[in-house]
């Protein structure tokens, strides 16, 4: 009698689904995933591309992180902005980044953006949208600059300008009014900054600062906190009490432990070695 070897199944294991729905019905639900509730954008300018993101991470109605990083490193020539479930975007980009490095070592060549896009979309499709990662992938390779959006279910779009996240409509309204092909570097960065700020100020899921990454064929510039339009105001007065505000009336010091030291002089007897 041969034993049947368990075949490895792809995707998630849903065996607990019935139990989980029952528990949720009784009021004991799973903890809410930290969603980035984001505004992320990308656009292609004359010499390459510019990626932008806000820096607020939300857990429901609460701001979990006021200054998180949403533009993830993928390869020396590629960066990826992530919207959706924070853990999913973080781990997905880290996984594909490591796969890309192995691929680079194996081929001996600079990785192409379309390779990263294919790896990401095949993984996300395999998980049928259960991995909540909505990504903007941008990079420059041997064929020039490329900009892709990748949705949680695995579909992709290749476009000259893109926005994702809860603030995507606010950001897209800025792009649709002002984008044109062959922008200069300054115009590109300025447009990205305005688009992210539209998301920051008009969308509740986005906020805090603007991160920018500029990629062209020569170099990559990571401009962390490029703009900080929400800096906390400096407090006008100090609430610290000066020394001496509370008057000392009496001082008494009492040792809690009585330390008594006695020294016993004891002549040791010689060891008996008979």
């Amino acid at each position: 009698m041969t034993s049947r070897l368990q075949q490895t199944k792809g995707g998630f294991n849903f065996d607990n689904h019935v139990r989980n729905t029952m528990m949720e019905g009784k009021g004991m639900g799973i903890p809410k995933a930290t969603k980035t509730g984001t505004t992320i954008v990308g656009l292609i300018y004359k010499d390459g591309l510019v990626l932008g993101a806000d820096t607020r991470a939300t857990a429901g109605p609460i701001v979990a992180d006021k200054n998180c990083e949403k533009i993830h490193y993928l390869a020396p020539n590629m960066y990826c902005c992530g919207a959706g479930t924070a853990a999913d975007t973080e781990m997905t980009t880290a996984l594909i980044s490591s796969q890309l490095e192995l691929h680079r070592l194996s081929t001996g060549r600079q990785a192409r953006v379309v390779t990263a896009m294919t790896m990401l979309k095949q993984m996300l499709f395999k998980y049928q949208g259960q991995i909540g990662a909505a990504l903007i992938l941008g990079g420059v390779d041997i064929n020039g600059p490329h900009l892709y959006t990748i949705y949680p279910h695995g579909s992709t779009d290749k476009l000259p300008y893109v926005t994702m996240g809860s603030g995507s409509l606010a950001a897209m309204s800025v792009f649709e009014s002002r984008y044109k092909p062959d922008l200069s570097r300054e115009e590109g960065i300025s447009l990205v900054q305005e688009a992210i700020e539209a998301g920051i100020f008009n969308d509740l899921g986005s906020g805090s600062n603007v991160d920018v990454v500029v990629i062209n064929s020569e170099k990559v510039e990571v401009l962390r906190n490029y703009a900080k339009p929400n800096e906390r105001g400096v407090k006008e007065a100090s609430y610290k009490y000066q020394k001496g505000t509370t008057e000392i009336l009496k001082t008494s010091i009492r040792d809690l432990v009585d330390i008594k030291e006695t020294v016993n002089i004891h002549t040791p007897e010689a060891m008996d070695i008979s």
Binding site: V114, T118, T156, P160, M172, S173, F201, N202
Partner: protein, 274 residues
Amino acid sequence: MDHFPTNWGNPRSEDVDSYNTYPVASHSGTVPHSVRQIAGFGHAAGHPTSHTQQPVVTGTSVLGIKYNGGVMMAADNLASYGSLARFRDVERLHQVADFTVLGASGDMSDYQYVKHLLDSQMIKEYNADDGHTLATPNIYEYLWRVMYNRRSKMNPLWNTFVLGGVHKGEGFLGAIDLKGTPYQSPSIATGFGSHLAQPILRKEIENRGGEENITEEDAAQILKKCMKVLFYRDARSMNKFQLARISAEGVKISEPMSVETEWAFAEKIRGYGA
């Protein structure tokens, strides 16, 4: 007809009405036990009284912006039937009194009913013959009361109305939604406009340092820019719209117009990635 031979030969079951031979509010397929149940009497079988809870023929965004000397509003000429562009010559901007314009988004039949209500109010005012005519803030308050009352009876008028006008030399611009929430602001946008157009309107007002610094030409240009973005990104919009201008001289609702759109970028796009 019962297609399964094993079920032939038995007498037909009376408690299953598979061919809808009599009208029953919710066709659970069971035989009704009384005429009252068939007639419905406002009740779906076994359910409490309910009224229309979804809009049928709908209009999309209405925009409004205050400028120096008055208020300008914009709305396209489309009334959609779900995803069908059903009525393409609908005027969603309607002059009420000498200095007031009502813009309607949402259910068009409820909009027509409200127009009738407002007409009745205007006639009552005329009959009172006391030298007063209804001003914009008065009509606004009346409309707010109507909307809130309907909401409290769990039978809302499924609209978001925008009311713009001039009163005592000052511009007036406000919105009221189906729940009876009134909201006044220098810029108003309903429906998709609240996501796509509001960021642009707010930024324009901020850049110029307030609505007093916006000229009539500026306001028209800003609204046209917003209508262009809405045509690009709202799947239930149309590139045929009207502008309404209310100033101290009165109301002027323009003829239908359209904006130039750019689609040349599509020639460079091939496929969706690979």
